[in-house]
């Protein structure tokens, strides 16, 4: 996705179940309630009021490991089998979240441009990057081809 396309992203609300979606357009079918063509454009203050702050905090190493395991389910890549290494990366991401606001890959470094740096949040879009295609691993080695 180009930076220009990122700027076009808007907030959308399902008028049946209040799901919030951030994208160029709302989903045709709501992934939560299944309603069809139910997403209407809303603004940021409204979205913030609709979202109830009770989601699970992914702020512990074990929670990240669990999330990553689920993320790889049925995919052509898996979590690196070296658990000590994976735990080190998880600690690094949590440190980056504490110090820099988001779970940036500890083997990258932010550019200072917020929109560009969204590409560095783990899991990143590694499966479309040349490094993964050439080496079979994401940049940091957290995810490896099966």
């Amino acid at each position: 996705m180009t930076k220009e396309e990122m700027v076009k992203k808007k907030l959308w609300r399902c008028n049946v179940c209040n799901d919030i979606h951030y994208g160029i357009r709302g989903p045709v079918i709501c992934p939560t309630c299944g309603a069809r063509n139910a997403f209407a454009l809303i603004d940021y203050p409204e979205a913030m009021k609709v979202i109830i702050d009770r989601g699970d905090r992914l702020d512990e190493v074990d929670k990240l490991l669990d999330l990553w395991e689920k993320f790889t389910h049925d995919k052509p890549f898996k979590l690196n089998p070296d658990e000590d290494f994976v735990r080190q990366l998880a600690k690094g991401e949590l440190a980056n979240e504490a110090n820099h606001g988001l779970k940036y890959c500890p083997c990258r470094i932010t550019t200072g441009d917020f929109e560009d740096d969204l590409d560095l949040i783990c899991p990143c879009n590694f499966f479309i990057q040349p490094v993964y295609k050439e080496s079979g691993e994401c940049w940091c080695g957290l995810f490896v081809k099966r």
Partner: protein, 109 residues
């Protein structure tokens, strides 16, 4: 070359614009693995490699970003650590597979 995290945040006293720089991140496992190799080469070359930690020093991160034209290519499209930048030759090495031989050649070029 100093391995300690706090002292290495600021780098050493070599003249700026003509340094061999090792950019690393405190929480990056590959940087931890490469650290002793860089130390070894640095010692063999008389302590000539400057270590700069980039996730906990905005000053060091800003310097690293200033070399992005070269580093982006070496790092596969986004800035990454561990990476090494030679201010004299403007050549860089980047990533988890850097070898001692590559560092020696990069430093002596």
């Amino acid at each position: 070359m100093n391995v300690g995290v706090d002292s290495s945040l600021k780098g050493d006293s070599m003249a700026e614009d003509n340094r061999l720089i090792f950019f690393w991140g405190r929480e990056c496992p590959h940087c931890a693995k490469l650290h002793p190799v860089v130390n070894e080469v640095s010692q063999e070359l008389g302590g000539s490699i400057t270590e700069l930690e980039v996730w906990h020093s905005e000053e060091n991160a800003t310097l690293m970003r200033s070399y992005k034209d070269v580093l982006l290519e070496a790092c596969g499209g986004s800035l990454g650590v561990p990476s090494l930048y030679n201010e004299k030759t403007k050549k860089a090495l980047c990533g988890k597979n850097i070898t001692k031989q590559e560092i020696v050649e990069w430093a002596q070029e």
